[in-house]
């Protein structure tokens, strides 16, 4: 059983992440009603919210330090929050503001915070190879840092995933792959894209440790993740974890989920890891007042981040031309065309 401080940290990260997604959901719909237009409002474009995924990120990241690397997929907010990404600047990025983490260039699928070694990618499974690379660097430099790649269960049929497992196992790299199994790859249920229900079994083909957490429970995730990350830190190689999570919202905002049976949506809503962890905390002697205080603090932090982000300036158009290179070349050659 994790210690009480870790449990409280996990709870705070989960409550923060849930509040964050619910608040973004509201903000995203501004300017998109009554007729939904994906390009309208203060947050345009695709938005993939992670309500129901919190236990995975909280249970894994509680074992991580700022120097450890995390790569996240297109549904990254809960992971970023648990990893300690600057919430205000991340929010400003999602609102496309000049002071965002990426000056408005990245958007919600492309959040980078080198201060805590966090990155994400909108291309399925493509966070796995860079996590392997971070682990390779840690091994070469004789540190005990680790890398963690988060991915969805839909990503585990992608070539880059298998190649990463093999490389990681071959070199006994300090990396942990965390499959968040929410049972749906947009409209495709797991049962229709693979005959292997337990994704962690794929580890066996690479002589790698693999474990599945069948319940959506932050404590259970924390325990197996602690073991996996300890193994990585001690030089004993990689692990593949699969964690059961739930999808409380559509694949992206605006997804009507016509393909999804109502009973499935209801089941996912019912299996909520947040009250489950609250019950555990109460058992450990945390008072209802303490829980309320954590919740109030988390909500306040989210609300402040959103208010701050909305007050930030938008980037000027010409800013689009900057940052293609770290060492930009002179515009001399372009002047020939003028």
């Amino acid at each position: 059983m994790p210690n009480i401080e870790d449990l409280k940290t996990m709870y705070e990260n989960m409550v923060t992440a849930r509040r964050y997604e619910e608040r973004l959901q509201q903000e995203y719909l501004v300017g998109k009603q009554p007729q939904f237009d994906i390009s309208a409002g203060p947050i345009p474009g695709e938005l993939h919210l992670a309500a129901g995924h919190e236990a995975s990120a909280a249970g894994v990241c509680v074992h991580l330090r700022a120097e450890d690397t995390v790569t996240a997929p297109h549904r990254p907010h809960h992971i970023a929050i648990a990893k300690g990404v600057d919430l205000k600047r991340m929010t400003a990025e999602i609102f496309g503001r000049a002071t965002g983490l990426c000056k408005g260039k990245g958007g919600h699928m492309h959040l980078y915070d080198p201060a805590v070694n966090f990155a994400c990618s909108g291309i399925i499974a493509q966070g796995c190879p860079p996590a392997v690379g971070a682990a390779l660097a840690y091994k070469k430099r004789n540190t005990d840092n680790v890398a963690v790649a988060f991915l969805g269960e839909g990503a585990i049929n992608q070539g880059g995933f298998f190649e990463s497992l093999n490389l990681a196992a071959l070199h006994r790299l300090p990396v942990v792959f965390v499959i968040e199994d929410n049972e749906w790859a947009i409209s495709m249920p797991k049962s229709r894209v693979t005959d292997v229900a337990d994704g962690s079994k794929r580890a066996q083909g690479f002589k790698m440790a693999g474990t599945r957490v069948d319940v959506d429970d932050a404590v259970a995730v924390c325990e197996v993740a602690g073991e996996a990350i300890g193994r990585a830190r001690n030089g004993n190689g990689p692990t593949l974890l699969e964690v059961q999570v739930h999808r409380r919202m559509g694949h992206f905002m605006g997804d009507a989920e016509a393909y999804r049976p109502a009973v499935d949506r209801e089941r996912h809503a019912r299996l909520d890891p947040i009250p489950r962890l609250a019950v555990e905390l109460r058992k450990q002697g945390v008072t209802p007042g303490d829980l309320k205080e954590i919740e109030a603090r988390s909500h306040r932090r989210v609300d402040e981040a959103i208010a701050w982000a909305k007050a930030q300036p938008e980037p000027a158009g010409e800013e689009a031309l900057q940052d293609v290179f770290t060492n930009p070349f002179s515009a001399r050659n372009e002047e020939a065309l003028a």
């Binding site: 007729q35 939904f36 237009d37 994906i38 390009s39 345009p44 474009g45 695709e46 990025e93 496309g96 503001r97 965002g100 990426c102 408005g104 260039k105 990245g106 958007g107 699928m109 492309h110 990618s121 909108g122 291309i123 399925i124 499974a125 493509q126 839909g154 990503a155 049929n157 992608q158 070539g159 880059g160 790859a185 947009i186 409209s187 495709m188 229709r192 894209v193 693979t194 605006g254 016509a258 393909y259 938008e314 980037p315 000027a316 158009g317 010409e318 800013e319 689009a320 031309l321 293609v324």
Partner: protein, 344 residues
């Protein structure tokens, strides 16, 4: 150059571009047992951009197949099925995802006919969503027109309206070569991503094909030629209206297919106007704009008095609206560039 769509239309029924595509696919599925469709979220979802809406209901899961997120696997499988005698239609959800499967596309699908000395035919349609202008950022907003047109062995189609979309889809499915069918998300007629006016057109109910390699002059004009494709046909037409108000008559050429490229129409238009503005939603350098300008230079150098191009200025597509608007040529930018060109 073809006649205007309206002249060829027998019924007044109008369709969105996505409905026109689906109608052609459904006709071919109904009439040819060798045709089938594979892709992510194409069955129950009907395609993220409605490219396959309703097909599952009529044809079932054997012919309208959802596949795992395994693009190398299923695009390579389309090639294999085609070489075994079938006519697969395979969807790459966003063209940006080509990165995970490009070997099967350009080293295999595109080259088998040539490498086999013509012994093997590859009747595959690779359809894919392209384009931005809705803040989907660097990994979901590219067109990559130039990338696919550059690599030999694939025909490349970019419909700009519903009539073309249906005729090109029939032609693509019946063609014995790989055809990359690039549909612009902003043209599909989705309720959640409005299209410009003019994309929805009358579409005949019967099947018909359109020939590849015939550009269309969407508007005549004596002062300059605007050569473009896809979404930017509509932006160029809107710009041409505004230019006409200030006495500049722009001709608007819709390329419609990139491979084959209708060089004749480009050259003829430049011979008429003497000035060329190329408008593209792909990266500027080493791409479509350069190819069109080279074509004009090779075919009409004596007539060519001035040239400009508008394209994504060699940066990845940024997320924030002011940034994306800055890099993706808009009507205002086209008007300004055309006026400057006309004044040269």
């Amino acid at each position: 150059m073809s006649a205007s769509p309206a002249a060829e239309v027998q019924s007044g029924r109008e369709l969105t571009l996505s409905r026109a595509m689906v109608e052609a696919i459904a006709w071919e599925l109904r009439n040819n047992p060798d045709v089938f469709v594979m892709g992510e979220d194409i069955a129950d979802y009907g395609g993220i951009f409605s490219s396959t809406t309703g097909l599952l209901n009529e044809f079932g899961r054997e012919r309208v197949m959802d596949v795992p997120i395994s693009e190398t696997g299923f695009i390579g499988a389309a090639l294999g099925a085609a070489m075994a005698g079938m006519r697969p239609i395979v969807e790459l959800m966003f063209v940006d995802f080509f990165g995970v499967c490009m070997d099967q596309i350009y080293n295999n699908l595109a080259k088998v006919t040539y490498m086999s000395g013509g012994a093997c035919k590859v009747p595959v349609v690779l359809m894919t969503a392209v384009g931005g202008a809705y803040s989907d950022a660097a990994q979901h907003s590219q067109t990559l027109y130039g990338t696919f047109a550059h690599l030999p062995g694939m025909k490349v189609v970019v419909p700009s309206n519903a009539y073309d979309a249906k005729g090109f889809m029939h032609a693509a499915i019946r063609d014995d070569d790989p055809v990359v069918y690039m549909f612009h998300k902003r043209l599909m007629g989705l309720v959640w991503m409005p299209s410009p006016k003019g994309v929805k057109t009358p579409v005949p109910e019967q099947d018909y094909t359109l020939p590849f390699g015939e550009a269309a002059v969407r508007r005549g004009g004596r002062d300059l030629s605007i050569v473009t494709l896809g979404l930017h046909v509509h932006r160029a037409l809107a710009a041409a209206e505004r230019l006409a108000e200030v006495g500049v008559e722009a001709e608007v050429v819709d390329l419609r297919t990139l491979v084959p490229l209708d060089r004749r129409t480009i050259v003829q238009s430049v011979k008429r106007t003497g000035k060329l503005l190329v408008v593209d939603e792909d990266y500027r350098s080493f791409g479509l704009t350069g190819e069109v300008i080279a074509t004009a230079a090779e075919g009409a150098l004596g007539d060519l008095k001035a040239v400009r191009r508008l394209a994504i200025p060699d940066v990845p597509i940024p997320y924030a609206r002011p940034l994306e608007t800055y890099v993706n040529p808009g009507v205002d930018q086209i008007v300004r560039a055309a006026q400057a060109l006309a004044a040269e």
